[in-house]
Subunit: 122 residues, 2 copies
Amino acid sequence: MARLKLKLQLYCGDAIAMGPGKADLLEAIAREGSISAAGRALGMSYRRAWLLVDTMNRCFVKPLVETHPGGGKSAGATLTAEGEAALAAYRALSEQVERGVSGADFTALEEAILSSPRLSQP
Amino acid sequence: MARLKLKLQLYCGDAIAMGPGKADLLEAIAREGSISAAGRALGMSYRRAWLLVDTMNRCFVKPLVETHPGGGKSAGATLTAEGEAALAAYRALSEQVERGVSGADFTALEEAILSSPRLSQP
């Protein structure tokens, strides 16, 4: 059975300000309390997680993630109020879109697509 | 203003059987009559265009693109009946989804996203 996947992306110029991967990362940062732990939880390198956070922070009017340097208990990263709001708004919008899709009929495509690709012909 | 982009992807195992880029490529092949000309028209390398066609052909029950080797007038590539049908079904499904989205309210996100990213802070 073909799986249907919908990616909702919000652009800021040519950069993606918000999408499924960035929303998951925000969620993980809120849960894990640091960018590195969030990246690890998602199987993502620290560099990649940091770049995604940097893009988000540069695309929004106010940064979504705040880092707290230093080695103490307060070290790490947290979502700002704007980060919490952006994540919630993205999730709500995604659900609205999913509901719009649930009525769509993709039987024809579903039946034409294999459950996994055939091997290449030599 | 943030632009909203919806990507509708149909998976075949871990491979993407059909999505916006592959649909555009099918359309270009139908118009241009060859994989290389279609790739050129989309600013895509021949290798990339060929790989996308190969993935589609391996993901569908019947191939979507047929190549006609040889140097004559009939050389090139065309869509099969299944290719025409898959492209039409994907376009119809995308339109259905877009209509579902058109009612969605993304004012909050739109207002929070810049028109282009800020430069990185040093």
